[in-house]
């Protein structure tokens, strides 16, 4: 029952309205004054600022390295934010870019696969052209970050020149030569070609009685091949090529599909899936396309397996898979200071230090020549001379594919069909190719 407390109407009213008022108060009290998006492109050299650099996975930038920048630039403190996966970082990057750029770090690490977006929206990024950094990087690396009108929008960090990683123990077991230089010779050496690679593969699969496949995944192999075409899906002016009449891609698709499934060369896994990760422990395959960062994956997935090695060869000569850049979003508050910092961070000395930390193979010409890189070896891969191997492979890269705004959607249509055929066992080569063409048509790219 109610107690007999004298209750005044005024008090009641206030109590009733309190919940609404409290809400309003919360909203206003918590909202700090406008975050102020005015970006100062020029600034007082003595103004104390904090620059944020957002990276993902492991770029090898230690706190000491970043602190050393403050020694030479006392008014600048550097903070690093690390996203675990490049997917998380990409989602973050795109969302914030989409909302106008607020929330992006002053310096953003960007994977080469996102560069088409950067190049497409070049006015959202600062022009980083500077004579001081001319010729710092390999030509094809710089090209990946250069807009059609000549603006340089990203400074290169690492690259992904591919070699062939292989299981020397399995090679030996099934009667193939297992020394790295012999393996390079086996695959054709300087004239290594995909036909030769597949041929040796068929031989190997026969010898192993079908127990061990030649490579890990159809999509991994396919993307290595596509990475050697100059204009796989689009013309250099950005217009897409009709997939139905794209003879090059159709040929690649049919080749990979037949070799993977009909000839049994693939272990029938899609890259990065749970099964693929587990397959490293099951002796499921003997070779794979291998950029420097992949060695970390192989090592962590194959703990306990001792036979991995790297051959200094790649079908088609050379190819690049991956690599990153540093970009400076135009919405940042200190774009000039950020540009300066990015230039410093991607200088050969700093990249060397990163290499020592994370084994990200540098894209800077000078850094590659440095003994610390050139003479480096990888324990897990039986002391393979990775510095030498990847330098050679990087030099052998002649073509990097043009990636316009529609590259990835079209690529997905093709790889989906490939995976449906080989990994999921659906349909025929013909029917899956038609599915890919249908998916292309559905994009409405006209």
């Amino acid at each position: 029952m109610l107690t007999h407390r004298p209750s005044r109407p005024a008090r009641r009213l206030i109590a009733a309205g309190a919940s609404v008022a409290a809400l309003a108060l919360t909203l206003t009290a918590c909202s700090s004054g406008d975050s102020g998006s005015g970006s100062s492109k020029t600034q007082d050299a003595n103004e104390k600022i904090t620059l944020t650099v957002a990276t993902f996975n492991n770029f090898g930038y230690t706190d000491e390295l970043l602190a050393s920048y403050t020694k030479t630039h006392p008014n600048v403190t550097v903070k690093q934010e690390i996203a675990a996966t490049s997917d998380d970082a990409k989602a973050n990057f795109t969302t914030k870019l989409a909302a106008g750029g607020a929330g992006l770090a002053d310096v953003q690490a960007v994977d080469v696969d996102w560069m088409p977006t950067v190049l497409q929206y070049e006015d959202k990024f600062t022009d980083l052209s500077d004579d001081a950094v001319k010729d710092r990087w390999l030509d094809w690396k710089t090209k990946q970050a250069t807009a059609p009108d000549g603006k340089l929008l990203g400074y290169g960090t690492d690259i992904g020149p591919e070699a062939i990683c292989y299981r020397a123990d399995l090679f030996k077991k099934y009667g193939l030569p297992s020394e790295p230089d012999k393996v390079a010779e086996l695959l054709g050496g300087k004239d290594a070609s995909w036909d030769k690679y597949f041929q040796v593969g068929e031989d190997f699969v026969k010898k192993s009685g079908g127990k061990v496949a030649w490579y890990d995944s159809p999509d991994g192999t396919y993307q290595a091949m596509v990475g050697q075409l100059a204009n796989p899906y689009e013309n250099s002016d950005g217009t897409p090529k009709d997939l139905a009449t794209n003879a090059d891609i159709k040929a690649l698709f049919e080749k990979v599909a037949t070799e993977s499934k009909d000839k049994g060369l693939s272990a029938h896994h899609q890259e990065w899936q749970t099964d693929w990760t587990a397959s490293f422990q099951k002796n499921a395959f003997a070779t794979m396309a291998c950029p420097p960062w992949m060695t970390a994956s192989i090592e962590s997935n194959s703990g306990g397996v001792k036979g991995w090695n790297i051959a200094n060869v790649f079908p088609g000569g050379g190819g690049n898979w991956g690599g990153s850049f540093l970009v400076v979003p135009a919405a940042g508050k200190h774009t000039a200071a950020a540009k300066e910092f990015a230039a410093w961070l991607t200088a050969p000395e700093q990249q060397l230090s990163a290499y020592k930390q994370a084994n990200n193979y540098p894209s800077q010409v000078e850094a590659e020549k440095d003994p610390a890189v050139a003479d480096s070896k990888n324990d897990f891969f039986n002391n393979a001379p990775v510095g030498q191997i990847f330098a050679d492979r990087a030099a052998a890269v002649t073509v990097t594919p043009f990636k316009g705004p529609n590259y990835f959607t079209i690529n997905k249509a093709v790889t989906d069909a490939l995976v449906a055929y080989d990994v999921q066992g659906k349909g025929t080569v013909e029917s899956n190719w038609n599915a890919a063409v249908d998916a292309y048509k559905a994009l409405g790219l006209g």
Partner: protein, 346 residues
């Protein structure tokens, strides 16, 4: 002062007059109080919803009528072009099919199993608290975590389930390659998480059923099953409707579980398990970055959900035994609780 003078007799100069004045004022206030308080009480919900729910809804409607890329923004009014384009996409219809099938495979078992479990828990069992809490444990595991764990279970080649199957000589099931199997796997993840939740909701409703109804039935000679179907179910009718509607709405929006079913999160190479919310997400935030079309899909999904919720509402209203006094829950609500109908309880 003696007790006599403090006795509350009406005509007094001091306090009674004050009381009279106060009564008058408070009467006016009281009337105003009755009129306004309901709106005040429901306003926090609507205010916050207006900002965080309604505005995005309308904004997305606006976006759906334009050519709109994720980063580039507004690129011109296109009317209903996005909608017509979506209708022509095979992927859209596939996603609807997937969504609907996963919804059926999850919501139907969910409701049935939850009711049965609740009935079991409703008995006079020992260690009630332990059992009741036990069924809710799956709910506290984050969906992301559920996805990670079940991903290990349902891997096609080396997953726990397939390894167990082949160990006893049965063929492996293509959880990712076979379309129906993928629906089952995802529905299992969803059911795992939500059955316990719905069980407790039904349990709360069953506990509110008056025991003397059952006792009367026992006296009349009704067995347990009969009691269940003739007393329990009708009594918890409005809860059943509530659960059916909420699991319809939730089931048609399933996103987390199918998204974490594989590492790419795009619904499979042949769009086997791509739900409509995933299709929406891939359109807008995937490589296509076509926010205009994504917004169109979002609105279409919204319409589909509303239609389905209404259908389910009418279906479940009719399925349960109708009691003349009860009518629909809205009617009975009106009869039971309004402040203007004095004494019309029931």
């Amino acid at each position: 002062m003696t007790a006599l003078t403090t006795a509350p007799t009406p005509p007094r100069v001091g306090p009674p007059e004050k009381r009279r004045r106060r009564v008058g004022f408070s009467q006016r206030l009281s009337r105003w109080d009755v009129k306004v308080s309901p709106y005040l009480y429901v306003s926090p919900f609507f205010i916050i919803f207006a900002i965080t729910g309604l505005f995005p809804l309308l904004y997305t409607g606006w976006v759906s009528m334009h050519k709109w890329t994720l980063i580039g923004g507004d690129a011109g009014y296109t009317g209903f072009d996005n909608f017509t384009a979506i209708f022509q996409q095979g992927e859209f219809w596939l996603s609807l099919r997937n969504t609907f099938m996963i919804f059926l495979l999850s919501s139907v078992p969910q409701v049935i199993i939850a009711i049965v479990l609740a009935a079991i828990l409703n008995q006079n069992i020992r260690a009630k608290t332990f059992w009741r809490m036990g069924v809710l444990i799956p709910y506290i595991v984050a969906p992301v975590a559920v996805g990670l764990i079940f991903g290990q279970l349902f891997a096609d080649q080396y997953g726990v389930i397939n390894t167990a199957l082949s160990a006893i000589g049965l063929p492996k099931i293509g959880w990712h390659s076979n379309t129906f199997a993928s629906w089952t796997a995802i529905a299992t993840m969803v059911n795992f998480r939500w059955i316990g939740y719905n069980t407790l909701i039904f349990l709360a409703a069953m506990q509110a059923v008056p025991a003397d109804l059952y006792e009367a039935a026992v006296i009349d000679g009704a067995g347990r099953m009969r009691q269940f179907f003739s007393i329990t179910l009708p009594q918890i009718r409005s809860t059943i409707i509530f659960v059916v509607i909420t699991s319809t709405i939730g089931g048609l929006q399933i996103f987390d579980e199918p998204r974490t079913f594989d590492t790419y999160g795009t619904g499979g190479p042949s769009h086997q398990w791509e739900t409509t919310t995933m299709y929406l997400w891939n359109l807008g935030w995937g490589p296509q970055q076509n926010l205009g079309r994504a917004a169109a899909v979002a609105w279409l999904l919204f319409v589909v959900i509303v239609i389905f919720a209404l259908i389910n509402y009418f279906v479940s209203s009719r399925i349960s035994t109708s009691d003349a006094r009860r009518g629909t829950s809205k009617q009975s609500r009106g009869r039971r609780g309004s402040t203007d109908r004095k004494g019309a309880t029931r």
